[in-house]
Amino acid sequence: MAQTKDRKPLYKRHMTRYERKKELIAYSFLAPNFIGFAVFTLLPVLFSIFLSFVKWKGGDFSTMQWVGLGNYAEIFKTAKVAEKGIGYLFAKVDLGIALKNTLFYTLVTVPMTLVCSVALALALNKAVKGAVGFRTIFFFPYVASMVAICVCWRFMMMKDGPINQFIMALGINFNKSWTADSGMAIWSIILVSVWRNMGYYMVIYLAALQGVPTDLYEAATMDGANKWQQFAHVTLPQLRPTTFFASTMLIISCFKIYDVVAIMTEGGPGRSTKMLVTYIYDEAFAHFNYGIASAIAMVLLVIVLIFTLIQFSMEDRYAND
């Protein structure tokens, strides 16, 4: 904590030789990863930012046409939206619908997954009998092939299927295939996502729990804290860097949801589960509009960046506490 606290304007004055050496050492730690990252990921990503301002169907670079903000105007249907109001964007325009669906999906899936995975990690961090078995089972969904899993769940959620039989037994009157119902289709994707991801984040939390110093618990016990208080005042604060990681990664992966949708609902019925990346995929690979696809990706990037920066500043604030 001490390190992040003294944020002097260190770099404004000339650096001493010692400081320069320290900086070089830092760069040497970064280099092996950064070089590969810069060449194979960062560069292509920067290029795709450029792509969002051109019209391009693939092929020679000479066939690119600079269209400025044209791709953005096209996906936001700015002319129509200006005429008919913002409601039109979310009711009729592909981008608006995809944005709405993705946001809804993310806002429900992220907290559900976090709660489930923390709960599982806490339960299995203890020396419960069979913990190894349980952990392996819960991690399994993440390991198994997507196709097999999604096909199976779609099958389970069929009309007259086991899941519907179960909820009918609970007295809820619903008997349609989930994936064939505009209202339920997105829930089928949410449930499968939570189910698939909770084991994954459970593993991350398990690893993080190993790093919680035990003396903190002892101190808390001596202060007479009960279990809940221990959890709230010892465990949770200690897990903060991990929660930052888990929530950021979850938000990003939710915003990028594609494969579950592609296999379970193909974005349907209608456009009820059309997501941002489903839309990108269509534009890039069905219509070969790489410029449009990149523009949609930039919208996605901006939203995720906003979320990340908010979290980042919160992390900094906690670190400075």
Partner: protein, 290 residues
């Protein structure tokens, strides 16, 4: 220096034994229930892998196949060069996991514990690229790889996966949880930064490294899009790509797909199980004693 005694992480003794038993029983019931729900698709997968293709989607669901078609498991090895696919996938997964774990724990140390100009900007860059869907920068990346002569070689997937931002992010977060005072103390003791990384950070982050190894291995093992785009000849294909050979334009062999999926689960399960122990040690802070 911090003194930490070795007691289990849940070193708090429950106050009422009777309540504890009730609690424990409840916990087990919930865990078993979730485990059962989790296992359903796998049971279905295994059952489907022992059926005929047209039986797979017959309705209502038949959990136990009428006739057990064990021959599906030998068919998959003769119908496609599955062994080659497994070898390729294993090669990629092992090399990627090695490079990824090494370089990202290295880079993460710089991000978490060292100070240099542009640290936050660089870090945001890393995280931001995770947010860009691969589909949008796949084409420029492909053109780049091709010009480097990496197209249709296993190395394309190696360089594609090895330097992902994910590993750096994960390790940085774990390193941040390790008290900075430890590093300071080591510096005073005369350890170089490399020494601190090797002798303090690495041993302390075993659980994190195990996590990264598992995730990288599983992620690479199950990756589909990358190998699909970059690997073309049959000798270079991976299991996930080879799997699609059972889905053809006008027919599909879902029973065989399920059989391959079951086989493909084994190596990843072994990796996971063998790294389990790092999550159970309970006291990650061993070795901190002054």
């Amino acid at each position: 220096m911090t003194q930490i005694t070795a007691t289990p992480a849940n070193g708090v003794r429950p106050s009422h034994p009777a309540l504890a038993i009730v609690g424990k029983t409840l916990l087990y019931i919930v865990l078993v229930a979730i485990a059962l729900v989790t296992l359903i698709p796998f049971v279905w997968m295994i059952s489907a892998s022992l059926k005929l293709d047209r039986e797979v989607f017959s309705y209502p669901i038949r959990w136990v196949p009428e006739v057990f078609h064990w021959e599906n498991y030998s068919l998959i090895w003769s119908k496609v060069p599955l062994l080659t696919y497994f070898k390729n996938t294993a090669f990629i997964a092992i090399v990627v996991t090695f490079i990824q774990t090494l370089t990202s724990s290295f880079a993460a140390y710089a991000f978490a514990k060292l100070r240099f100009r542009g640290r936050n900007v660089l870090f945001i860059c890393y995280v931001a690229t995770i947010a860009v869907p691969w589909q949008t920068y796949m084409l420029p990346q492909f053109i780049l790889m091709r010009s480097m002569g990496l197209y249709d070689t296993l190395w394309a997937i190696v360089v594609l996966q090895s330097f992902s931002a994910f590993g750096v992010f994960l390790m940085r977060q774990f390193y941040q949880g390790i008290p900075t005072e430890l590093c300071e103390a080591a510096r005073i003791d005369g350890l170089s930064e490399y020494g601190i990384w090797a002798r303090i950070m690495l041993p302390l982050s075993k659980a994190a490294i195990a996590t990264l190894v598992i995730f990288t291995f599983v992620g690479t093992w199950n990756d589909y899009m990358g190998p699909m785009i970059y690997l073309t000849r049959d000798v270079n294909k991976t299991v996930q790509v080879g799997l699609r050979r059972f889905i053809q334009e006008n027919s599909s062999d879902y029973h065989l797909i399920m059989a391959v999926s079951v086989c493909s689960l084994l190596p990843v399960s072994i990796v996971f199980l063998s790294l389990q122990k790092y999550f159970i040690q309970g006291i990650a802070t061993t070795g901190l004693k002054g």
